[in-house]
Amino acid sequence: MTAKLILRGKEYEVRAGMTLLDALKKSNIVPESVIGVRDGEMIVEDEILRNDDVIKLVAVISGG
């Protein structure tokens, strides 16, 4: 029962059943710096991750 987070090509495996927020914290990703997208739809932090979910994380920081 796992789900996968993908950020800039790097994959993070997390337990299904937890919220996106908890999954981000567990993976040491700052929640404020990404947006979660599942099947092309944006999801918010309290969304429960399902088994075999693949969540694309869009990095929000840019600039130099």
Binding site: V44, I61, G64
Partner: protein, 321 residues
């Protein structure tokens, strides 16, 4: 989580406002708020001719999209910097400038908008990486040269083409990161000049930042939900930059203290308005037009940009002899 306006499933949650919105209401809310900030800070009216500095990134393309939706006279300007990630010090990457130009042009063409394009290398014989290599300002890290060139070219094009307002896509995270850096060093002159509006001066258009109260996350959400195709890759030279580091630090703070970034910026604006920082009269009085381009400068004779170009061209001429 439900949309505050209709109760449908939310797409975006803004913890600093304690508000979540669905796609439809979010895409209404952002332009409404932008209009509110434009009026609050007296940025411009529907009579003004606005030039939007577009880079191909999410913020500037979203800004252009919003201003056009709100019915403003807004044309775009793209500055080709000649940055190619495949030739950067770290290697790899993409042809950054070509790709960002392609996306910007695509955005303009799809909406029938006017886009002015300036290619720095074609105009001055030197790309940004070339200028950085040849001057003491750059040396492998061209961000300072890039900023100088972009400021100069934005001012030049706005003046030459008769635009009285220059709009940039700076978001709150950009502003908070700059503010954080300037506060760490107590740069009072920079702090004094930072704000949503920089009034017009002799030869310079008014500069405005209509997105300055939106988090970077909110602007990313707007671009994604609007199906705006923007350049996702980072500028190859931005890797490890101080501003990105400050943004990361501030986002860590925001995660545990929702609203911290917004408060930091808004309280600063309030303090500035209340006179926390004072203008140093002598600096303002010393502004005069550059002998070559006519833009205001405090430097004697030539402005920093013209001095840099002249120096590089002289060096090139000597080396070719």
């Amino acid at each position: 989580m439900k949309c505050k306006k209709c109760g449908e499933k939310a797409s975006v949650n803004m913890r600093q406002h304690r508000m979540a919105l669905c796609k439809e209401h979010y895409l209404e809310w952002i332009p409404e708020q932008t209009e509110r900030f434009i009026k609050k800070y007296e940025m411009f009216t529907h009579r003004d001719k606005i030039l939007v500095a577009v880079s191909g990134g999410k913020d500037s393309l979203s800004l252009w999209d919003i201003l056009v939706k709100l019915g403003y006279q807004a044309d775009g300007m793209y500055i080709g910097l000649g940055i190619d990630g495949r030739r950067s010090p770290t290697g790899g990457g993409i042809d950054y400038s070509s790709e960002s130009h392609r996306l910007t042009q695509h955005f303009a063409d799809a909406r029938g908008l006017t886009l002015h394009v300036v290619d720095v290398e074609r105009e001055y014989g030197q790309s940004i990486p070339m200028l950085a290599e040849k001057t003491h300002r750059g040396y492998g890290k061209p961000c300072s040269v890039c900023g100088l060139v972009k400021r100069h070219e934005m001012n030049r094009i706005a003046r030459d083409l008769g635009y009285n307002v220059l709009a940039t896509g700076h978001n709150l995270d950009d502003e908070a990161a700059v503010l954080f850096g300037n506060t760490l060093a107590w740069e009072s002159m920079f702090l004094l000049r930072q704000g949503p509006v920089l009034p017009e001066a002799d030869g310079l258009a008014r500069k405005v930042k209509p997105l300055c109260r939106f988090y970077e996350r909110e602007m990313t959400a707007y671009a994604l939900l609007s199906d705006i195709e923007y350049i996702y890759e980072e500028c190859p030279f931005a890797e490890g930059s101080t501003s990105i580091y400050y943004k990361e630090l501030l986002n860590q703070l925001e995660t545990t203290r929702p609203g911290a970034k917004l408060t930091f910026y808004l309280r600063f604006l309030e303090a500035r308005t209340n006179g926390l920082f004072r203008e140093q009269d002598e600096v303002v009085q010393n502004l005069h037009p550059c002998n070559k381009c006519g833009q205001p400068t405090t430097a004697p004779d030539l402005c920093s940009f013209c001095r840099m170009i002249e120096k590089v061209n002289q060096t090139d001429a000597q080396e070719s002899q």
